[in-house]
């Protein structure tokens, strides 16, 4: 028996890997699709040049839910990865648990405070400490349109106001196309909602109602009008919209089945992959009436608290992510814009250039607000309660008035 135990112990000791001599980082993310993976590869090569080994831990699926669950288990057992792709209030939730690192040393050296928009710093810093590093800034108040379909439907000129947009969409519908390509999933309905809130109530109302959750602002005629506008859109989708994925909806615009899609700028990747050119094949403009304001969401790498040489590797990773050249290369592929405002826009296409200009302007004018739909306005539990109301209203289970009442109740819960 004893003999057996000894041999077992020996075998186990032999199976143990030799202690790592090299700095390495372990990155949990859900960027497994072609373009995103390519973009991340840039980061990997940059780091390996600096002698930091990259351990890729992709967890596919569900906008990161699966990754979140995997990391939760690891943090609970005291073995966190170096970093994890994370978003908005989720990062603050992690920070509240006291498990994130303090990156202030790197941040001070590289002047992140100056170059990252204030509105975004709310999610990259907690208690005055940098805890996460933003890779990009997406915005949700975009419309994507098929130019050819618009021409065939007799829609000409710029669409500047909401009413003009509805009019144009009706023309498209009359011409026999689907006016609005939309996938009936709660987060997609909420993404559309972002833009409509901005159009209807402006930035101040947006902040009061959906960030400060002010009951009076939520229970106002403005909110009723927001839902009325959602109902207008409900008339413009096709009958099979329920459950459709967002990229399938983008495909409808690309292939000329549909005229418009209201979706975040990740939709641009679909158009570019289909070899479509901005300005000639498709148009990108802000949700009509929301020009000058931007509702954003940002992918960040939340950094976990680690010790020793792991922390050194982590600092290198953080500075590699914030490197302007990387930010430019990554975001050209991703469809988003850099998370710092001092990156040149030379490499970007027309929509990307517009996105960067809008962002800089909104950041300067303080009209940059976190997206309701993508967890940059309220914590996950409230966000999902808002989803419930929006999606039930859009599916005809609540009328406009009831939706307002339900929204007030949901936020309280």
């Amino acid at each position: 028996m004893n003999k057996q135990l000894t041999s077992l112990a020996l075998a186990a000791a032999m199976a143990m890997p030799a202690a790592a001599q090299q700095l390495s980082v372990e990155v949990v993310h859900w960027w497994t699709s072609g373009g995103e993976a390519t973009a991340l590869n840039v980061l990997k090569t940059n780091l390996e040049k600096q002698g930091v080994k990259w351990n890729d831990m992709p967890v596919a699926g569900g906008g990161g839910e699966a990754a979140m669950t995997a990391v939760r288990a690891r943090v609970t057992s005291g073995n966190p990865p170096t970093t994890m792709q994370s978003m908005g209030y989720d990062i603050r939730d992690w920070a509240k648990q006291g498990v994130l690192a303090d990156l202030n040393a790197v941040a001070a050296k590289e002047q992140w405070d100056k170059n990252v928009p204030q509105a975004l710093q709310k999610f990259s810093k907690y208690d005055g400490k940098w805890i996460a590093v933003p890779v990009n800034i997406h915005s949700t108040n975009w419309v994507w349109a098929n130019k050819d379909v618009l021409t065939k439907s007799g829609v000409t000129g710029d669409i500047k106001t909401w009413d003009e947009f509805i009019e144009a969409a009706k023309k498209v519908q009359k011409a026999g196309f689907v006016a609005l390509a939309h996938g009936g999933q709660p987060w997609q309905e909420a993404t559309v909602f972002d833009g409509i809130v901005l159009v209807t109530g402006g930035v101040d109302y947006y902040r009061k109602a959906f960030i400060e959750l002010d009951a009076k602002a939520l229970n106002s005629p403005t909110t009723l009008q927001v839902f009325q506008r959602m109902s207008q859109l409900r008339q413009l989708v096709d009958k099979d919209f329920s459950g459709r994925d967002w990229n399938v909806a983008s495909g409808m615009v690309i292939s000329g089945k549909a005229g418009f899609q209201i979706m975040g700028d990740w939709a641009k990747g679909e158009f570019l992959n289909a070899k479509k050119v901005p300005g000639t094949d498709f148009l990108c403009f802000r949700v009509p009436g929301s020009q000058g304001t931007v509702s954003f969401n940002s992918d960040q790498f939340a950094m976990f608290k680690l010790g020793g040489d792991k922390a050194a590797a982590q600092a290198k990773l953080a500075s590699a992510i914030m490197d302007p050249a990387f930010q430019s290369a990554f975001n050209v592929v991703k469809g988003s814009v850099p998370a710092r405002t001092d990156v040149p826009d030379a490499a970007f296409d027309a929509c990307g250039k517009k996105g960067m200009k809008d962002l800089a302007e909104a950041s300067a004018k303080n009209t940059l607000v976190g997206s309701i739909a993508h967890g940059h306005a309220v914590p996950a539990s409230i966000k999902n309660a808002i989803y419930d109301v929006i999606t039930r209203h859009f599916n005809g289970q609540l009328d406009d008035k009831k939706a307002v009442a339900e929204l007030v109740a949901a936020v309280k819960n």
């Binding site: 009936g184 009958k239 099979d240 459950g243 599916n395 005809g396 819960n413």
Partner: protein, 289 residues
């Protein structure tokens, strides 16, 4: 070495695993439901806060009422269809074993596959409705899955399709165990086939009904993958079941304690069905069946 020591030794690792991984984690979940856990487990005691919150949430009551509709319809339809198929196959037909396998096959699929296949079938844009249109019947409409009031019945259809064959197999085994003497006696008395089934055979299938009911009831309560694949809880939240609620609250809404509380209630619901059944089975074994 006593006789029986070796079997015990062989069984002990798996018994230990079950003890830790099943009962240990049930206890852990039970404890979590009394903590203030949100994003990650926290271990301080918070009392029944998460239970009161759970019971006040409309999402929970919607999930429960959906479960009522789903479980009721599912158990009824699966029992009726299973019994019907079993009786038909029991008529000494040709190729009986071929039919048996055909009806049993769906059981071999996982619910994810069933859900995905039915999602396509029921989707008006690609499935049944479109096929019928292309055959020339333009007025045909079947879009239940897109309708908030009817989507839950789509879940019932897919679930029944999956399990009816299994219920059939159970009833078939039961039918084969019915006393043939009585049947022959009834035949001699000039009873018709349907009378024989109604008066003699079915009353003797009581134990099979109970077993089938227990299996179907616990399957209904823990249904998750089918809903996720078929409708993902939509349209709106019209096909949310308690299991969907549990996953949502534990893993996407960062309310782990509420999620844990809901799973405790689900466990109690299943236990209420299964425990009496197990108890009666145990008693049978003790009394030599």
């Amino acid at each position: 070495m006593r006789a029986g020591a070796l079997p015990r030794l062989l069984i002990s690792p798996s018994a230990l695993l079950v003890l830790v991984c099943v009962y240990g984690f049930i206890a852990f979940t039970f404890y979590l439901s009394f903590t203030p856990s949100t994003l990650m487990p926290q271990y301080e005691w918070a009392g029944a806060v998460s239970y009161t919150r759970l019971l006040s949430l409309e999402n929970w009551s919607v999930s429960l009422s959906n479960l009522q509709v789903f479980a009721g319809m599912y158990i009824l339809c699966a029992l009726a269809l299973g019994l019907g198929l079993a009786i038909l196959i029991d008529q000494k037909i040709r190729a009986e074993s071929a039919f048996r396998s055909i009806f049993l096959y769906p059981m071999a699929l996982s619910f994810i596959v069933t859900g995905t296949a039915w999602k396509w079938l029921l989707d008006p844009g690609v499935g049944l409705e479109r096929t019928v249109h292309s055959l020339g019947w333009e007025g045909f409409s079947f879009s239940w899955i897109k309708d908030s009031d009817l989507a839950i019945y789509c879940v019932v259809i897919a679930a029944v399709w999956q399990t009816a064959g299994f219920v059939m197999a159970m009833f078939l085994a039961g039918l084969r165990g019915v006393d043939t003497e009585q049947i022959n006696a009834a035949r001699v008395d000039g009873a018709k086939a349907w009378q024989i089934y109604l008066r003699i055979v079915i009353p003797q299938l009581g134990p099979v009904f109970v077993s089938a009911f227990v299996i179907l009831a616990h399957m209904a309560v823990k249904s998750y993958d089918l809903v996720i694949a078929l409708t993902n809880g939509g349209p709106g939240r019209s096909t949310w079941l308690p299991s969907v609620f549990m996953y949502q609250y534990s893993f996407t809404r960062n309310e782990m304690a509420v999620g844990a509380a809901s799973s405790v209630l689900m466990l109690l619901a299943i236990a209420a069905v299964v425990l009496p059944y197990l108890y009666s089975e145990m008693k049978k074994v003790k009394h030599g069946g």
